[in-house]
Every structure is written in structure tokens, then in C-alpha cells.
Amino acid sequence: MKSYTFFLDNISVNEFFKPIRSRSHAIERTLRALKLMGLNPKIPKTSIKGELRLYIDKMNRIFFYTENKYFTLNFPFSVQGTINEMKFYSDYLGVIDNKKSSDLLALINSGVQNEECIDAFYDKFCDVVEYNVEIWNEFRRLIQLEDGYIRYDHDPINEDNDIHPLNHLDIFYSQSSTIKIGLKNKFSKDELIDSVNIKTNCKYLY
């Protein structure tokens, strides 16, 4: 299993931990993480406020950590190289360079996926990026992707017995489909990884 760890300062924590409420948010966060990993900025120890970890195995996931909140998303790209020179790949685009990640971000930010009419969709798509079949296929793949969103909260402020337990997992982000699973104890960073890793022993609810 390949794993990479990056530290986050306050600014990055604020960017990554903005609420995720839609597929677009999840894709946007994933692409921003990809850009950050490509940069691999050096952060002074005193400024470290969070962490980002990428695991590439049978499970491809990215994990974001602060002291009391973690979340994880599916990471839909393959990776090569060392932490100082990471290269990301997808089947459609080959190497995802800075331009391709910016183009995908521009498409997500434009809201093109919400256009109602196919003509308007195509027009807007071509306005935002120069159309080619690869970028369209990659974009299509991303918006159809299962994003695998899971969040862990240690939330003393909003704690409400068994309705909103001090430690809990939220699975899925939309109001109507989200599942809350209470935890008896505080979860460590590794426990979250372990609980979603299909290669390690399962956790049981009962």
C-alpha cells in the first residue's frame, strides 16, 4: 500500500473543511487536494493545524484531519512518484498536469453540470474549456463517481445524548440520505483509516 502524508496550515484547513453538501463540493475538494499534493509545500511545525493523507491500494482514499474533525473521500486517480514529485494519472487524461486540473476545476466551478438543456450544456462546456473528448470523458467520470464521503466528528459543543453523540460518523452528505453512527470513544486518525480499509479486519456495529 502506498501512502503519502502532507501537513496543512490554518489557511488550507479552512479551505478543505468548508462544508461538503454536494457532489461538486466533493470533486472540488479532491482536485484542490491533488493540486496541494503536487505542490507539497513546506510548513513550519508551529503552523501545522491539520493533515492530509493519501492511501493508494485496493482502497484509494484521501483523508483530511484536524484535531476534532476528519473526513475522507474516494480518490479517483492513480499516483506515481515520490512525495516530492508526485504524478497523478487518469485513464482518459493520462497525466493530470496543472492545466488539466485547472480545467476540471473551472468546469466544476461553472456549474455546467446543472444546465437543463443539452445545447446550453454543450455551449457552456465549450466556453469554459476548449472541448475535447478526453476532458469531457474525465468530467463525466468525475460527476458520476461514487465519492465515498465519510466524516468523523468529535463535537462537544453540539453534543445531544444519543441524537448527536459526542463522537460520531456521518456517512453521505445530503440531509435526506445521511447516516449518523455513534461511537463509544474518540476515534484516532488510524482507526478511521482502518475502519474503511477492506484489507483489514472489519468493525462490527453490534
Binding site: 489557511i11 485547472s102 475535447n132
Partner: protein
């Protein structure tokens, strides 16, 4: 006509000629009117009284009819109306009631002054607060309304405040464009970027909309994003100009890009024309240019005699960014327009067309760029055309230079062309001491470091700098542009606490965030400072045109960050060229041989045959970072293999293959 002088249409007197000459000799902006411009409801019985308006001078009433009582009545009525215009545009809250400013700012004489020098000495305003107040009154009287909340009445202390509180005052040419209605049924207006073309079109639109009740008008441009932006700006502008009539979108007024899409008949000018005349509508396809579809439409309309059967679709067409269009689009618009077709464009952007002069021939030539320092403009032109280099990319004859607002002379031996631009008092001379271009060698610094140093320099020199005052624009290979902007997006918030807006990802200018963009999202934008970052300077026309565009976005200063090591000769040439312009106010350029001038023209002509195809291939060269020397042979070989085919994948494959063989 001069840009310094404006005479209200229909007025005539020997004295006005004298004032006109005076304005040109002394380079003073002077207007003579007998009613406030901008609203036709202000009319007066006495026809022999006039008002002279000139910044920093008192507003002066002149009686040329020797009728004291009627003159007094005229003055009272005129000032009452000025008071109500001031109220209408909410100036009154800031500048106060007329009785507060009449005493110090209004002057009157009962006959034409014989000695104009003496007259202007008598009416001069020395106090800078009063000067500003008088200028604001002139803007009201000439219809050049400013947002009083932005401009304010206080005299700005710093240069940056001056930039932000600058008063927009139309010059003679600009005012004539809006208020002179006898201009024929096709009016072209040409000007460099920053000369206020779009603003003028908005004023014209308002004038048409208000004064022609049943008229149908369309505002159109090539770029869809720009059209959307204008559609947002028009209601704002109408509200600001206190237009009380409702905007009847898609009934009386359209604001759309030129092409349009199948699903909506009101989505584009060409689309609308096809719908109205029942023509075949063609959507975009790589093998069909806009020129093709316009030509089909013209043929269909003419063959079927559709104008006779259906009538004209529009009364007025306002067409912006004309340099983006083929001639056939103008012809199509003209064919379907009842009253006037207004065409506005930037001369320089079509300068790589070989038939520059014959194509331009504007009714209005706006040569004064009020945004950019004239020296910055000269430098940007020289960089765009490669004038500092041994082999220029473009050469203009004297007439063409003049069209671009230059004063042209030659040295005695006629081997050098000496080019100057008239200095402009843009921000009351305070900006004159500033070196408006700064070239920075980035050899020993990372992109983050060089931007960091530049922003610190700006803040040191202008401590009241805010995040919206600066833009960073990158040009070069995709890898350079996009990886640099990613690095800056990370470093700038951490150095300066500013949030960064990458316009190539967000497609808009977000207030309160630092604007970073590639060359594609900067059209129409302007900033106090622009930081232009390049890697290896290329000679392609698109590249040079983009450099010109980037460098001319600044009010005060453009920083040009470029590595010397990859641009050895050019770096020195640019630096020397700028020093000459900065120190002497002119540039002396060696005139290329007639033979070489012809070569340039031939090259442009060859490439210009199918501009869109060329741009397509050029963009692939940029993407693959093909060295300049190989581009021409590659262009030819690609064209001979795939013809005018826009299949990108195919073209890339062929260029890559040919290039690999060439290298061997």
C-alpha cells in the same frame, strides 16, 4: 475635428472658431454648449447665449446677442436645470445646492472676449476643491455622468486615491460620437484599448433607447462571456443614468453574442436574424467558420429578397470588439438594420491584418488612451510589433502610425522613424514622475519570490494599495502558466493575507480577491498595477498581441517579470527600448528596408488567409512548445497533410511526428 474641442451640433459663430484654435494650441479641453447635453428636454428660448466649459475654469455664460434681460433669464433657467440635473444624479448631496457654488464657479460676460488668453486667466479656478466641483458640474452638463459616491467631492491625497476617484469626462470626439446624430447609417469607431469604446456604446445605447420610442436595438459582440457581462451592465448603467423606461428584453433590446444556439432564437445575433427571416441556421462546427455562416445568410436573404418581404429586423445595431469579426458579419448586420449600424473596435488588435488602413477608415478615431500611461502604450506597441528587435514582426507606414495615435517624424537621412505620443494629464500630472514600466529579471528568483518582491515594492511606494488594485497575468507555455498560478495561489495568502481568485478557474473578477489569470480572461479589465509574468518570449502574433493586451491593463504601472537567461537579446532590447521611451518620451526605430517590409506583409497575408485555422495550429505549437524556427515548416507540412481540418488530435499527432523527424 479635434478631441480637445466640442461644439454643440448646429451652433455656428466666428468666435467659436477662435476658441477651437485656442483649445488645440493650448491643448485645453473646451466645450461650447447652449443646453445641457444628455437630455433633450432642456431647451431655452434665447438662442444667442452660450456656455463655455473647461476644466479648472469657471463655467462661463456668454451673450452674443446683446440682450441683457433675455441673457439673465437664460442664465437663471440654465442654472436651475443644472441644479435639477445635479439632484437627479445625486450629486446634490455631495456638491450642495446651486447657491453654494454659483458665486465661486459661475462667470458671465455680455460679449465674446477678444483676448482669449486674458479671458482664461480671469476665469481660472485656483482652489483644488473648487476645481473638482467645477469639473463635476461639467460632467453633468456634457452627459458624462460619474458615480458620485466613487468620485466624491474631497480632493484625493494620494495618487492611488486619484486613480480610484478619477472623473470620467468625455473629450470632444467622444462627446460628438454620442450627441451628433448626423453621422450616416454606418458609423465606425476605432480606438486602442482603454480609449473608452464600450462606455461610449453604452451612452449611445441609452441615447437611442430614450429618444426612439419604438426602436429595436441589438448590442452584440463575439465573446459570449463579454455579452453576458454587458447584459448585466446595461440595466445597471440605465439605472445609474436614471433611465425611467423599463428595458424590454427581447422586444426592444437584445444583448447577445454574435452566433447563438439552436435552442433559443434570442441567443445570438446571427441566430435571431435566421429566425426572423426564416433562414437555415448553422451551429458551430470546426469546419464552418463564422464567415461561412454569415455569407450563407447574406446569400439567402438576397436571393429570396427577404428584406422586401420581411422588412428590416433592427433599427439600430451596436457592435463591439469589431476586430473579432469577419467583414461578412458587418455586411449581414447592415443588411438588416433600418437606421444606424455602430461598429466599435480596437485598431491594434487588427494590426496583424495586412489591409490595416483600408479596413479601418473610422468615422471616429479615439487616439487618446485614458487608462494607460502613453509611455506604457508606446512600450507595449513596440513589444507587440517587435520594434526593439532586429527583425520587426510588423511595420506600419506613417498613416497607420497616425491611426494608432502617434506623431510621426523621420531623421534627416530617413533611416529612422521617430514616434511620439502626446502626453496626457490623466491624474493631474502626479503620475508623471512614476516609471510606468518596470522590467524585472527573474533569473535568480522563483515565481513566488519575484511576485512577493514586486507586491512589496508596490506597497512600499503606494501604502494605501488594496488587493483589488493589483492583477497578475501570466503568459507562456501551459505548464509554466498553470503551475505558476498554482504556486502563487498558495504563497500569496500566506505572505499577504489576500485570497486569490484564479480567473481561469472562476471565469470572473471577484471583488476583494487578488486577480490571477492567463491571457484569456483579461479583456476589458483594468487595474492600478499589473504584474505580467512571462517565460520565454515568443514571436508568434497571438503571443505578441497577448503581451500587448496584458501590459496595457494598468493605470499606473505594469511590471514585466521575465527571465533574462532565456531571452538574452530580447531582454536587453526591451530594457534599452523602455529606457529610451522613459527618458526621451519618444522611440526611434530603424525603418526596415522596402524589401523586408514587403516580406512582413507577405507573411501576414499568407497566414491571414484563414486566420482561425492558423490560430488553431499556433495554439498547438504553443502547447507542444515547438521552437519558433520550426513553426513555419511544420505549419506548411501539417497543412499539406491534413488540409484545413480542425481535428486537434490528428493535428497534434502529425505535428509531433514531423517535429521528431525534423529534430533528427
Amino acid at each position: 475635428m479635434s478631441s480637445y474641442f466640442f461644439l454643440q451640433p448646429g451652433l455656428n459663430n466666428v468666435f467659436f472658431e477662435e476658441v477651437k484654435n485656442y483649445s488645440e494650441v493650448h491643448k485645453k479641453q473646451i466645450y461650447i454648449i447652449n443646453q445641457p447635453l444628455g437630455d433633450s428636454k432642456y431647451k431655452y428660448e434665447y438662442q444667442k447665449a452660450f456656455v463655455i466649459l473647461c476644466p479648472k475654469q469657471k463655467i462661463t455664460f456668454i451673450d452674443l446677442g446683446n440682450s441683457k434681460d433675455e441673457f439673465e433669464e437664460f442664465k437663471l433657467d440654465f442654472l436651475e436645470d443644472l441644479g435639477s440635473i445635479s439632484d437627479k444624479y445625486q450629486y446634490k448631496d455631495q456638491i450642495g445646492r446651486p447657491r453654494k457654488w454659483i458665486k465661486d464657479l459661475i462667470y458671465s460676460v455680455d460679449k465674446a472676449p477678444k483676448d482669449l488668453d486674458r479671458f482664461f486667466k480671469q476665469t481660472i479656478i485656483n482652489n483644488s476643491e473648487d476645481q473638482k466641483l467645477a469639473e463635476l458640474l461639467i460632467t453633468l452638463l456634457t452627459g458624462s455622468i460619474n458615480d458620485i459616491k466613487r468620485v466624491g467631492v474631497k480632493v484625493p491625497n494620494t495618487l492611488l486615491e486619484k486613480v480610484k476617484q478619477r472623473i470620467l469626462l468625455f473629450d470632444g470626439d467622444q462627446t460628438r460620437f454620442i450627441y451628433d446624430h448626423e453621422q450616416g447609417n454606418k458609423v465606425t469607431i476605432q480606438g486602442l484599448s482603454g480609449t473608452g469604446k464600450t462606455e461610449l456604446l453604452l451612452h449611445k445605447l441609452k441615447d437611442i433607447y430614450l429618444n426612439h420610442d419604438e426602436s429595436k436595438t441589438i448590442f452584440t459582440c463575439h465573446n459570449k462571456i463579454l455579452a453576458q457581462e454587458m447584459r448585466r451592465r446595461i440595466p445597471e448603467f440605465f439605472n445609474f443614468m436614471k433611465v425611467e423606461e423599463q428595458i424590454l428584453w427581447n422586444e426592444r433590446l437584445w444583448c447577445v453574442h454574435a452566433w447563438g444556439s439552436n435552442n433559443n432564437k434570442d441567443s445570438g445575433t446571427y441566430r435571431k436574424i435566421c429566425d426572423y427571416y426564416n433562414l437555415n441556421f448553422y451551429t458551430y462546427s470546426p469546419s464552418r467558420s463564422f464567415n461561412d455562416v454569415c455569407t450563407f445568410a447574406i446569400e439567402e436573404i438576397k436571393e429570396m429578397n427577404k428584406v422586401n418581404t420581411h422588412g428590416k429586423l433592427f433599427d439600430y445595431v451596436l457592435l463591439d470588439e469589431s476586430q473579432d469579426f469577419p467583414e461578412s458579419f458587418f455586411e449581414l448586420c447592415e443588411l438588416v438594420t433600418q437606421e444606424v449600424l455602430y461598429i466599435a473596435g480596437d485598431v491594434f488588435q487588427s494590426i496583424f491584418d495586412v489591409d490595416f488602413v483600408s479596413k479601418v477608415e473610422p468615422n471616429f478615431l479615439l487616439s487618446k488612451c485614458y487608462r494607460t500611461d502613453p509611455k506604457t502604450l508606446m512600450f507595449s506597441h513596440a513589444v507587440g510589433m517587435g520594434l526593439f528587435e532586429e527583425s520587426p514582426l510588423r511595420w506600419l507606414d506613417d498613416e497607420e502610425w497616425k491611426l494608432c495615435g502617434y506623431q510621426v517624424s523621420h531623421n534627416e537621412t530617413n533611416t529612422k522613424c521617430i514616434l511620439r505620443r502626446e502626453p496626457l494629464r490623466r491624474f493631474d500630472d502626479q503620475s508623471e514622475g512614476i516609471e510606468s514600466i518596470s522590467i524585472f529579471n527573474t533569473d535568480n528568483t522563483t515565481v513566488e519570490e519575484s511576485v512577493n518582491i514586486t507586491i512589496n515594492k508596490i506597497i512600499d511606494e503606494f501604502p494605501d494599495t488594496e488587493v483589488d488594485d493589483i492583477a497578475i497575468i501570466l503568459i507562456g507555455s501551459n505548464q509554466f502558466v498553470f503551475s505558476s498560478s498554482d504556486k502563487l495561489e498558495y504563497s500569496i495568502p500566506r505572505k499577504f493575507g489576500w485570497t486569490v481568485n484564479k480567473a481561469h478557474e472562476n471565469k470572473e473578477n471577484i471583488p476583494g480577491q487578488l486577480f490571477i489569470s492567463n491571457k484569456n480572461n483579461v479583456k476589458g479589465l483594468e487595474f492600478s498595477f499589473v504584474i505580467c509574468i512571462a517565460d520565454r518570449i515568443r514571436s508568434g502574433y497571438n503571443y505578441r498581441n497577448a503581451l500587448y493586451m496584458m501590459l496595457t491593463r494598468s493605470f499606473l504601472k505594469s511590471f514585466f517579470l521575465v527571465p533574462k537567461s532565456s531571452n538574452e537579446a530580447v531582454f536587453e532590447q526591451f530594457s534599452d527600448g523602455w529606457n529610451e521611451i522613459y527618458n526621451t518620451g519618444k522611440m526611434e526605430v530603424t525603418i526596415p528596408s522596402v524589401n523586408y517590409q514587403e516580406q512582413i506583409k507577405t507573411k501576414i497575408r499568407q497566414i491571414g488567409k484563414n486566420q482561425s485555422y492558423n490560430e488553431f495550429i499556433e495554439s498547438i505549437f504553443e502547447e507542444l512548445e515547438i521552437p519558433e524556427m520550426w513553426r513555419e515548416p511544420l505549419f506548411e507540412s501539417t497543412k499539406s497533410i491534413i488540409g484545413h481540418n480542425f481535428d486537434r488530435e490528428n493535428a497534434i499527432e502529425i505535428i509531433n511526428f514531423n517535429f521528431s523527424r525534423m529534430e533528427k
